[in-house]
Every structure is written in structure tokens, then in C-alpha cells.
């Protein structure tokens, strides 16, 4: 078995046992990127030099016995909307094409403190707006499972890098499904933790009230190990919380006997592909066979989740992206007549179509005449959806469903009909509107061999339950790929 086929935890163990030097792991990873980046284009920036520098320091810490993290020395990738001190952070936008932050995201710092080796910054949809990684100003990324397909998005580069063996795991961000949907399309495990669990400091905001950082990983064990390192209250993020129940690795035990699993009927109506539906329901049967109590139930307000999500996300985005004005940093138009010309030209040229669409929509829904009819209405819907999930969790421990209505679409198909693309977020956005944790893991393939993802949603701060259920299913399902 090649070195890059190991999981992150497997590699970490070998490095800890001094069977493998950190440098060797990096050599293997960069051999992969050299071979396949030309094909997949997972990265916007690869930092070989920096990676070897980190490797040397981490190896010293390991040798000195002062770095005992399970993931010490393991090469990983970071989505390019997470700031990395001294390393260009673009958000896949022309606007920030030259932006080198003087600080690192808290999540990146935590991983690096544990000895993680950052090898580069992954491609994504511009400012995390999109579901295919095709809105990137740095070119598209291809799905390593099928080169004519998108890897999903917006964390498509992170997903593709892990799927292609170019990184052992990667950080993604999830505002409406941007970790889980690409995990689904690339046959990976991805988890969006409970809102407030991982500090957002240094995450370039899309929609502040929903953005969360999480791992894209090869298996449930890796995802648990990474998320365990990430969860911590951070005084720099005022909405981050001090929480318990973060012994995710300890939660990796088989057994779902008595676990109550609810499946929203509305998730299997119009729009879902038969193969996805069948694979997800088959997984539900496996849970049942393992002793879980599985039921279909009526989850209220399912069809309002997408419109409420886009109203709120775009509103917040329109404000969050105001700072990109060509004045302080980022792209500035070369010629302009006056201040407003500078703003207009810089923003018109610096942002791509999808970003501009969402800024306009967000500006519209916050305008004085629409605020009540759109924005406040969406907040009300958000409260109702939260209530509906609370009601559901009175009866169930886990809500099971698909992560996406279909497997990875073909390159170039999705952007022509943005509304259709938005509607495909139906299964993922609720976790962001409610702040609840949700994990996605592969549960089968369609006839074309494309991965299908299963999504499990848990109670707030209930990741341990999700990890246990996902781990159990992974064992039942058997080896992937």
C-alpha cells in the first residue's frame, strides 16, 4: 500500500512510532501533486518550501517527545478562505488574488500547534459562493472520482485534494453544505460541527451566522481526530462557545442499538434521483438491522429552508463583502474618475458573476422597502425550522437523509441555472439555519460509479452521537473505494 493511501490517523501513528519521517510523508504527497495537479487542479497555492520547513520543525518536536498529537507530521490542505500568515489567501477571487494575511485563522493555528503540516491552499467557489467550485477565479477543479464531473463546492478543492491523495485531510468551510456536499460528491467524510464549536477567527466571512469550519477526511476516524483538535472556545470569536462532549475519538465505538433515527418523508419527494434515494434508504435499513429504531416522519417547513437560507446568507454576504472596496487591500481598478468610480470599477472587475448576484440579492433584501417582507420573514422561517428540528429531536437522536439530491454533476452544467443549483442545497442548508451538527459519509455509488453521500444530523453539541453512528455504519458498509 502506498504511503498516500494511508488514512491521516494511520500515517500519524507511523510517524509517532518513528516508522516514517515527516519528510517522507511530504515527499509522497508532493509526488502525488506533481503527478495529478495538472489534471485535477485542487490547489490555488502549493507551498512546498513552507511545508518542508514546517516538517523539519515538527520532526524535531516529535523526536524531542514534545508533540504527541495523533496528527503530528501529517500533511494537510486548507481551503483558501482561511487565512494563513504569510501565505496568500485568495478566496478564489480576483479581488484577493494578491492578499497575504499577517495572521492565521484560529483553526489553522490549532492544527499547526498539534504538528499538522500545511501543504497548500485549496480551490473553492469564489468567496464560498457556489456548489461546484466552478465560480473560482483560478479555474475549475475536477472530481478525482470522475474527471468530467465537478467535485462539488464550495470546498471542492479540499474534497478533491483528499480524494486524489494529495492531502491526508483538508479543512473546509460550510455555510450551506459546502463541506458535506463535496464530501458526498467525492466519496469522503465531511462534518459541519455545531455552530460556535470552531472559532471563525481568520475565516473570511460569507454568511457569519452560519459559517463553520470542519474537516474533509478519508474516514470517520480521521474526521473525528481532526474535529477534536479544532473544537475550542476562542476569545477572538464572540459567538464561539465553551462546550463539552468533544471526545470524538472516544466516541468511535460500534453500536447503534436503540438509537432512534428519523427520516423526513419530504426528503424523498420530487427532485431526488432514484439511485441516491435507494442508496440512502438502504443505509437506513442497515442501521435498522444493527438495532437502531428507524422511522419516517413529517419534518415541517422543509421546502422553505432554501429560500430562507439564501435570503439570510445573501443579506449577510452583501454586508460582509463591503470591505472589498479597492481602498485598503485587494484589487483596485487602474483608472477611475472619483471615489464612486473607484468603488464601482474595482468591485465590478474584482468580483465574479455569482458573487455579484448574491451581493445584489442581499442588498435588495436588506433595503428599507424589502427588509420586513424578505429579511425579517426569512428570520421567522429560520426560527420555525429550528423549532421543527427541536420537535423532531424530542423523538429522534439522529435525522437521516441524503446530502445532495444527485451525484456530482458534469462540469459546466450547473452555473447556467443558478436557481436549480440553489435548490440542490435542500438537504444541507437546514443544519446551517439551525446551527446543528451534520456529518456526511459515503453510502454507495450510482451506476456511473459516482459516490453517493449519507447525511446524519444531530442535536446541538451532539457530535459524539453522530460519530458513533457514522463509525458504526462505516464498519457495516465495509471498505470504501
Amino acid at each position: 500500500m502506498g504511503l498516500t493511501e494511508l488514512s491521516a490517523v494511520q500515517l500519524g501513528k507511523k510517524i509517532a512510532a518513528k516508522e516514517i519521517r515527516v519528510r517522507e510523508a511530504l515527499d509522497a504527497v508532493f509526488a502525488k501533486t506533481d503527478a495529478s495537479e495538472g489534471k485535477y487542479h485542487c490547489f490555488i497555492t502549493l507551498d512546498k518550501e513552507g511545508a518542508y520547513r514546517q516538517a523539519e520543525q515538527v520532526q524535531e518536536r516529535i523526536d524531542a517527545g514534545v508533540c504527541d498529537s495523533m496528527l503530528a507530521g501529517v500533511p494537510m490542505a486548507v481551503k483558501d478562505n482561511l487565512c494563513t500568515a504569510g501565505l496568500r489567501t485568495t478566496c478564489a477571487s480576483k479581488m484577493l488574488a494578491q492578499f497575504v494575511p499577517p495572521y492565521s485563522a484560529a483553526a489553522v493555528e490549532r492544527l499547526q500547534a498539534a504538528g499538522a503540516i500545511l501543504i497548500g491552499k485549496t480551490n473553492m467557489d469564489e468567496f464560498a459562493m457556489g456548489s461546484t467550485t466552478e465560480t473560482s477565479a483560478f479555474g475549475i477543479t475536477k472530481n478525482p472520482c470522475a474527471e468530467d464531473r465537478v467535485p462539488g463546492g464550495s470546498s471542492g478543492g479540499s474534497a478533491a485534494a483528499v480524494a486524489a491523495g494529495e492531502a491526508y485531510y483538508a479543512l473546509g468551510t460550510d455555510t450551506g453544505g459546502s463541506i458535506r456536499q463535496p464530501a458526498s460528491h467525492c466519496g469522503l467524510v465531511g462534518i459541519k460541527p455545531t455552530y460556535g464549536s470552531v472559532s471563525r477567527y481568520g475565516l473570511i466571512a460569507y454568511a457569519s451566522s452560519m459559517d463553520q469550519i470542519g474537516p474533509l477526511a478519508k474516514d470517520v476516524t480521521d474526521a473525528a481526530a481532526v474535529l477534536e483538535l479544532l473544537c475550542a472556545q476562542d476569545p477572538k470569536d464572540a459567538v464561539s462557545v465553551k462546550r463539552e462532549g468533544t471526545n470524538f475519538c472516544g466516541a468511535l465505538q460500534e453500536g447503534v442499538k436503540g438509537l432512534r433515527i428519523g427520516i423526513p418523508k419530504a426528503y424523498f419527494g420530487q427532485g431526488i434521483s432514484e439511485e441516491v434515494s435507494a442508496a440512502v434508504l438502504r443505509a437506513a435499513e442497515e442501521f435498522k438491522a444493527a438495532g437502531a429504531v428507524v422511522e419516517m416522519f413529517d419534518l415541517a417547513y422543509v421546502k422553505y429552508a432554501v429560500p430562507a437560507y439564501y435570503t439570510i446568507a445573501d443579506a449577510e454576504a452583501s454586508s460582509n463583502l463591503e470591505r472589498y472596496d479597492g481602498i485598503k487591500y485587494g484589487y483596485r481598478a487602474e483608472e477611475y474618475a472619483d471615489l464612486h468610480g473607484l468603488y464601482r470599477k474595482s468591485r465590478s472587475a474584482g468580483f465574479g458573476t455569482e458573487v455579484k448576484r448574491r451581493i445584489l440579492l442581499g442588498t435588495f433584501v436588506l433595503s428599507a422597502d424589502c427588509y420586513e417582507a424578505y429579511y425579517l420573514k426569512a428570520l421567522k422561517v429560520r426560527r420555525l425550522i429550528r423549532q421543527a428540528f427541536e420537535n423532531a429531536f424530542a423523538d429522534y437522536d439522529v435525522i437521516l437523509g441524503p446530502a445532495a439530491p444527485a451525484t456530482a454533476p458534469k462540469l459546466g452544467e450547473s452555473l447556467q441555472d443558478p436557481l436549480q443549483m440553489y435548490l440542490a442545497d435542500i438537504y444541507t442548508v437546514s443544519a446551517n439555519l439551525t446551527g446543528l451538527p451534520a456529518i456526511c459519509l459515503p453510502c454507495g455509488k450510482d451506476r456511473a460509479g459516482l459516490p453517493i453521500g449519507l447525511q446524519l444530523t444531530g442535536r446541538a453539541f451532539g457530535e459524539e452521537v453522530l460519530f458513533r453512528a457514522a463509525y458504526t455504519y462505516e464498519k457495516i458498509r465495509g471498505a470504501w473505494q
Binding site: 487565512c83 494575511p101 464572540a238 454586508s319 470591505r323 429579511y375
Partner: protein, 487 residues
């Protein structure tokens, strides 16, 4: 100008509401740890957070809330128990994020009231609509010659309180009385120095006119950033006349924001209501809601100082000093507190008042200092008063000692000892000095004996000089007269 009169003779009443911005004197900014100190080199008090860098997040400085609650309690407001911040979106280069974190939906204080003294000698209540917290913007520096504008973000993120009054004011005099009252409360609380010239207190004036007797409000205009009482008075007079002339000519007042040009004494339109910016306010998602507990309010309430009106009333009862002194001493809380302690220590309120109102205020003014910066302790001032009282030193020496005390808070007893400034109490020694002076100045002696009483003053002066200022001037005077009469 007649605009200041409550009842003008032109049949119109002026209706004014104020929005007052007060820069809070917290050590650090409202959402980051940068210093708020005024006057630092450009862009030296800036971090990724207050520069609005990508990925950075605001964290509330809770001291700002302490200050807001304290001002709210002083202005008899209700404190909002579930408060929170909102974003006000507008593009301008002094605003690093192009939105300002402010409060719209649940301002920290609401429904307050301030009593002001009226020209007629009575008092009047002015309603406080709300007080909200927000961040200040940076400053633009225009280089006209080069055609370049620079931005200084030192001020970006400095905490502000905006105090919004009801439209209860009727004249420039009332406006100034109201501002003075706010200033007193805020300075007594120590939450801001309220310097209009430095911009730590700024006022926007909303003004409309209506025929006397009418209860409906006229259309109002807003005048922005008036930074002195003179500017406010002039702006009110000019805007009032402008609106009345419009109405008299059968035209209508347009709701708009106007800028007052103090040099020309006229205001001009900045933007009308139709052009008004849509700030697209929405709840700030980067900050959790702000819950203010009863304990929090109680903690602030228990630390509220005695304010000026109560202090003045107490002084009238406790100290035998003139009303003028009471007014001067209580104008500033630091000065009043030094007075109270000194008076208690030396038992001589009038003497304490004299030192503070005389030498202290003179030196403060001369050195452009605020009473808060006084370094000498009340104990030392009381000791100095004691030295004069016991005639250990004379008035001239006392002033000299005070100047040193003012500069570096020396112990006056030790200082007098060290420098040998004690008055010459030995009558024999003083008599010798006086005899020598008479001998050295025969012409003055002759003048005095010839009936020119003024010559005595000169001789006293010479004797004081000869004693190096240490003689008791009363004793010198008495001895000289004795010696002269003996001639």
C-alpha cells in the same frame, strides 16, 4: 440675533432635537485591544480587527457597556435588558469595513430625562429618546496640492455614545443648557472629556419651526457636526430664519441634511430625504445578543458619583463659602473632590476654596491642563494652609511652595524646612533689618516724615527684600512705623 429667544416676535416657535456623539475615554477600542489615545502618529493604533481585514471579528469591550449604563442611569433612562448590535451599511473610505457596528433595534438606554435650567430661572425637562453605542470611523487627510487623500484609522473603532433627545428644545440657549448638562454628567462620570474642539463631543441639530400655538411639528432639517457653542447658536439662528422665510413665501421646507458653513454663516444642503442613504441595518451576526443583568445595572448604580446639583446643595449646607465659590468648585468633579478632602483635613473651607480657585485654576490654565491632572494631594494642600495659618511661612513663600507642590506634589512641611523658608519670627532680628533699611533710604524716610504715607510701602518692600521674604510683613509694617515715629 433673536433666534435664541423662547418667544420670538415673529410668531414662530423653534423645535429642536439633538443627536450628541460622545467619544468614550476607554483605554481600548470598542471591538479590539487597540489604544484610543488621542494624537498618536497616523495608523499606529490599528490592528487587523479595526482595519477591517478579511476574516477578523469584533469582540465587545464590556467597559463601553459599563459607561453607557452609567450615562443612562444619570439621564434617568430605562436600561435595555436584551440589547444588541446592528450593522449600518454605507461606503466611505474612513469606514474600514464599509459598515459601522451600531445599535438600532435595541439601543442600550431608552426613555430618559434631563432637567435643564431655563433663562426665566425655572427648570425644564428634556426627554432622552435613546442612547446607543457604536464605533467611530477613521479620519481622512486630504492633500489638496497632490490631489491625494490619505486615511488614518487610529480613530476607527473608538467607542461612541450617541445620545438622542426628544424634540423638546426651543432655543439655542436651551440647546446649550442641555449640552452643558450632558457634559457635566458625562465628565462627572469620567467616561469622556467632552471636548467639542477635539471632537470628543459632537452635536447634530434637528430643527423645525411652527406657528406659535400649533401642536403639529413642521418639517425638520438636520445640521451635522457642529463643533462649538458658537457654531450651534449661529446655525440655529440661520436655519430658523431660512425655514421661516420659506414658509412666509408659501414654500415648503424640504426634509434634508444640511451642512453649516461657519465662516459664511449659511448652511447648504448635503442630501435630501429622497437621496437619503438606505443604511440596510440588520442585526450584527458576529456578536451575540447583549443581555444586561440586574446585577450589572446594580453594580454600575452603586458606583454612581454625587452629581453637581446635589453637590451644590450639600455645599450650601456644609460649607460657609460664597455661592460663586460653590459654582466654581463643583464645575469639575476632580476639583470638588480635592476641595472636600482639603477642607475636611484643614477645617478651613474658604482657605481651601481660595487656593483651588486662585492659584490652582491659574496654573491649570497657564499649563493647559485639566483638573483631573492635578497631582498634589489634599493632605499637602491642607498642610500648606496650616503653615500659613500658623504663620510659619508668609503668603509669598506659600505661593512659591504651592508652585512646587503643583508641579510635583512635594510635602510642604518638608520643603519649607529644607529650603529654610520659615518666617523670621525673631522681632529683634526683624528690627535690625528695619533699622538698616531706614539708614539706607534717607530720602524715603524724609518723604514719609514730610507727610508722604506712600513712602512706607516702599520701605516695607525693601525690608522684605532684605529679609529674603522670610519676615512677617505685618511685623515689618509695625516695627517700621514704630521706628519712624521715634525719629
Amino acid at each position: 440675533m433673536t433666534a435664541g429667544n423662547i418667544i420670538a416676535d415673529d410668531g414662530y416657535e423653534t423645535v429642536i432635537g439633538l443627536e450628541v456623539h460622545v467619544e468614550l475615554a476607554t483605554k481600548t477600542k470598542i471591538f479590539c485591544g487597540c489604544s484610543t489615545k488621542f494624537g498618536a502618529a497616523v495608523n499606529t493604533q490599528v490592528c487587523p480587527v479595526c482595519a477591517g481585514m478579511p476574516g477578523t471579528l469584533p469582540v465587545l469591550n464590556r467597559r463601553v457597556v459599563d459607561y453607557a449604563i452609567a450615562v443612562g442611569l444619570a439621564l434617568r433612562c430605562e436600561i435595555t435588558r436584551q440589547s444588541g448590535f446592528d450593522r449600518k451599511n454605507y461606503f466611505y473610505p474612513d469606514n474600514p469595513q464599509n459598515y459601522q457596528i451600531s445599535q438600532l433595534y435595541a439601543p442600550v438606554c431608552q426613555n430618559g430625562r434631563v432637567e435643564i435650567d431655563t433663562a426665566a430661572g425655572g427648570t425644564k425637562a428634556v426627554g432622552i429618546h435613546e442612547i446607543h453605542m457604536e464605533e467611530d470611523a477613521g479620519k481622512l487627510i486630504h492633500d489638496g496640492a497632490a490631489g491625494i487623500t490619505y486615511v488614518d484609522y487610529n480613530r476607527a473603532g473608538v467607542p461612541l455614545l450617541e445620545i438622542v433627545s426628544e424634540p423638546d428644545l426651543r432655543s439655542a440657549e436651551e440647546v446649550i443648557a442641555y449640552l452643558e448638562k450632558l457634559r457635566m454628567y458625562i465628565r462627572y462620570l469620567g467616561v469622556s472629556d467632552c471636548k467639542m474642539q477635539e471632537g470628543s463631543m459632537r452635536a447634530d441639530v434637528n430643527l423645525s419651526v411652527r406657528p406659535i400655538g400649533s401642536t403639529a411639528y413642521g418639517t425638520r432639517t438636520e445640521m451635522k457636526n457642529l463643533n462649538s457653542y458658537t457654531a450651534i447658536t449661529h446655525a440655529i439662528a440661520s436655519e430658523r430664519m431660512r425655514q421661516i422665510e420659506l414658509l412666509k413665501a408659501g414654500e415648503t421646507v424640504v426634509q434634508e441634511t444640511r451642512r453649516f458653513d461657519e465662516d459664511r454663516g449659511v448652511s447648504y444642503s448635503m442630501r435630501s430625504k429622497e437621496e437619503a442613504k438606505d443604511y440596510r441595518y440588520f442585526p450584527e451576526p458576529d456578536l451575540p445578543g447583549l443581555a444586561i443583568s440586574g446585577e450589572w445595572i446594580a453594580r454600575i448604580r452603586s458606583a454612581q458619583p454625587e452629581f453637581r446639583p446635589e453637590k451644590m446643595a450639600r455645599y450650601r449646607k456644609e460649607y460657609d463659602i460664597p455661592e460663586y465659590d460653590i459654582a466654581v468648585l463643583t464645575e469639575n468633579r476632580a476639583l470638588a473632590e480635592i476641595f472636600e478632602e482639603t477642607a475636611a483635613l484643614c477645617g478651613q473651607p474658604k482657605k481651601a476654596a481660595n487656593w483651588l480657585m486662585g492659584e490652582t485654576l491659574r496654573l491649570l490654565k497657564e499649563q493647559e491642563m485639566e483638573p483631573e491632572e492635578i497631582c498634589f494631594s489634599p493632605a499637602h494642600l491642607a498642610a500648606l494652609i496650616g503653615l500659613v495659618e500658623r504663620k510659619v511661612i508668609n503668603a509669598t513663600a506659600a505661593k512659591e511652595v504651592f508652585a512646587v507642590m503643583f508641579a510635583k506634589d512635594v510635602d510642604p512641611v518638608e520643603y519649607v524646612e529644607e529650603k529654610g523658608l520659615q518666617q523670621e519670627q525673631d522681632a529683634g532680628a526683624v528690627r535690625q533689618v528695619c533699622e538698616q533699611v531706614l539708614k539706607d533710604n534717607p530720602q524715603s524716610v524724609a518723604d514719609y516724615l514730610g507727610g508722604k504715607d506712600r513712602a512706607l510701602g516702599f520701605l516695607v518692600g525693601q525690608a522684605m527684600k532684605a529679609s529674603k521674604g522670610k519676615a512677617d510683613p505685618g511685623m515689618v509694617n509695625r516695627l517700621l512705623k514704630e521706628l519712624l515715629q521715634a525719629k
